[in-house]
């Protein structure tokens, strides 16, 4: 029964960790593939502004005083200079200039507000997963014609648009007629129903921001290092830099909480198995007190006696670890094949699992801890049996 508990505990631990960390890893992959590892926006600007309110004749007026000549610049002012500076960071694997702006997309019969992203496709491929997110059309069709647009699939669904349709972008400096070159799906519903990609030059002209307003989206060789690199870039360039960890902290905290709570829940199975082992061994020590006393009279040391119980615990542990790991591997594989359609924060058609050795090591560590304690206490009690006292009482 205890062996069954250890097996089940280890298997469940591995399965739940594989699932929660699988979804987390998939979410991270998705957000890195859509918004990159690091985003750099405007520089820190010294406005020295003051706000004053005054009331005359019952009306409240607000006055904003800024330093004489001070001007707020939106986005990155000198993109080439900053790009050159970023090239000195070996951790950065790609830099894409993105000009973001709102516009109204008119599909003929219906229209909606979209968030337009002006990009240079080759650069953006380096910092996103846009290549794999295309579900209709092609990137080459987009690249070859600057008057084309890539639409999020939810926008196309809502406006009943299809590949090759012509749409009008309104707002900014005027209207633009663009042809739909492709539809993309990131799985993040907020992006799929709002975002559209156009050529950077087109968006600059449309939004009237030829020399500023852009941001940089960066990719990294090791995205986990984004917070440190972000801090370094912010320190050296004076721009606002946000890492993906900072940007998605809420979701990452949710995944972390899920992972920890499932680990705690499943560990209780191992704890109960440990208690089972403890009970069995404690009863065994009581039942075998006389035999232990006889063994001690024959010259068996206290350590020999405790070794009997520790070995039994170790055997249960080793078999439990082996069986639990096997069941964990097979179940994780089986679960990864279960169909499950998820859209919202990422897009998947089946359960997402993460194969990570650390899940097995943690399960084993917890099992070792509980079984060791459960075996050690009765073993210690057995080793302390005084043979003369027990034999005298038995006789």
């Amino acid at each position: 029964m205890s062996l069954f508990g250890i097996t089940l505990g280890i298997a469940f631990f591995v399965i739940t960790q594989a699932q929660t960390s699988g979804f987390e890893a998939f979410f991270i992959r998705t957000i890195l593939g859509t918004n990159g590892a690091i985003r750099i926006s405007d520089s820190f600007q010294d406005m020295h502004g003051t706000v004053r309110s005054s009331s005359k004749e019952g009306k409240t007026r607000f006055f904003f005083h800024s330093r004489e000549g001070a001007r707020y610049t939106e986005g990155i002012e000198n993109t080439e200079l900053l790009r050159n500076a970023l090239l000195h960071f070996p951790e950065i694997s790609g830099i894409s200039e993105v000009l973001e702006g709102n516009a109204i997309l008119n599909g003929g019969s219906r229209s909606q507000t979209i968030q337009m992203h002006g990009i240079v496709l080759d650069d953006h491929i380096m910092v996103s997963d846009v290549e794999n997110q295309i579900i209709q059309g092609s990137l080459s069709a987009f690249e070859s014609d600057s008057m084309t647009i890539l639409l999020g699939n939810r926008i196309a669904q809502r406006l009943m648009l299809k590949l090759g349709d012509r749409v009008t972008i309104e707002g900014g400096t005027g209207n633009l007629q663009l042809r739909i070159a492709g539809l993309f799906e990131t799985g993040v519903s907020q992006i799929d129903k709002n975002r559209a990609y156009v050529h950077l030059s087109t968006s600059k002209a449309f939004l009237g921001k030829r020399f500023s307003g852009s941001i940089f989206q960066l990719s990294m060789f090791e995205p986990e290092k984004a917070p440190e690199i972000s801090a370094q870039i912010q320190e050296t360039t004076g721009h606002r830099v946000v890492s993906w960890q900072e940007r998605e902290q809420v979701w990452l905290d949710v995944f972390k909480a899920l992972r920890i709570s499932s680990a705690i829940t499943v560990s209780s199975i191992l704890l109960l198995s440990g208690l089972g082992i403890f009970n069995v061994f404690a009863i065994m020590v009581m039942e075998k007190t006389r035999d232990i006393a006889i063994l001690r009279s024959m010259g068996f040391k206290p350590s020999d006696i405790s070794a009997v119980f520790l070995w039994q615990g170790a055997i249960i542990l080793v078999i439990g670890i082996f069986l639990g790991s096997c069941v964990g591997i097979l179940s994780t594989y089986g679960i990864s094949k279960i169909p499950l359609r998820i859209r919202g924060i990422f897009s998947t058609e089946s359960f997402v699992v993460n194969w990570d050795l650390s899940h097995y090591l943690w399960a084993i560590l917890i099992a070792v801890l509980f079984v060791s304690i459960a075996s050690w206490i009765p073993a210690r009690r057995a080793a302390k049996i005084e043979p003369a006292k027990i034999i005298r009482e038995t006789v």
Binding site: I294, R296, S297, F300, D304, R392, V395
Partner: protein
């Protein structure tokens, strides 16, 4: 082969005192007990219940420590030796037989007998062979592979003797070994102890209530209230 100096006492007890607490009172189990036992001789310890016979046996068997006094085993002072030395001596030089056989019921007869040898590091095959030899001398060779609890009372006690003798101890301590047996089996067990004491030059110290058995021993020590009253 080690030769034993039969003239020198194998075990010498000097002025042994021992007490233990029971409830709120202290029981003085032994009050200055002294005697010697020679190799190859059987000494009977007799006396009424509670006079300290078994306590004396457990102290000689190094299962307990005296409050004062000295125990010399083959001229080595062992009364206050550390646990490791005492444990090793129990495994190599001392054999125990109790009133109840105290065999481990999950093991076969042969495995039970081989236990002291296995403890001292003798390989399993060799230990089982030696155990079988001893069982053969006790007329139990056909019972080797049986579980210990499948034997009769007399057979179980003979197996317990085999277990006490398998490692060729210098001292055999027997606490009422016939106390739980019928007359025929008592006689058989006692004769075996005499035989092994003579053949193996083992000092046998035997606690008994049976006066016939005591009368056939080489020496009788009578105890009362924790003291030797007659020798």
């Amino acid at each position: 082969m080690e030769t034993k100096d039969l003239a020198k006492p194998l075990i010498r007890i000097s002025n042994l005192e021992h007490s233990f607490t029971e409830g709120e009172g202290t029981i003085h189990a032994l009050r200055g007990v002294s005697f010697d036992a020679l190799a190859g001789e059987v000494t009977a310890v007799v006396g009424p219940s509670g006079c300290g016979k078994s306590t004396l046996l457990y102290l000689m068997g190094l299962l307990d420590r005296p409050d004062s006094g000295e125990i010399h085993l083959e001229e080595d002072s062992v009364a206050l030796a550390n646990d490791e030395i005492r444990t090793n001596l129990r495994n190599t030089k001392i054999g125990f037989v109790f009133q109840f056989h105290f065999l481990i019921k999950e093991l076969t007869v042969c495995e039970n007998v081989a236990l002291p040898l296995r403890k001292s590091g003798v390989p399993e095959k060799q230990a089982l062979r030696k155990a079988k030899d001893v069982l053969c001398r006790l007329g139990l060779d056909d019972k080797c592979d049986r579980l210990a609890n499948k034997l009769s009372g007399g057979e179980q006690q003979r197996v317990a003797i085999a277990r006490a003798l398998v490692h060729s101890p210098a001292l055999l301590l027997a606490d009422e070994p016939t106390g739980n047996l019928d007359t025929a089996n008592s006689e058989k067990v006692f004769q075996l102890l005499i035989q092994f004491a003579r053949e193996e030059k083992i000092a046998v110290i035997l606690v008994t209530h049976n006066s016939e058995i005591a009368d056939n021993c080489d020496h009788i020590i009578s105890m009362k209230d924790g003291q030797i009253i007659n020798r």
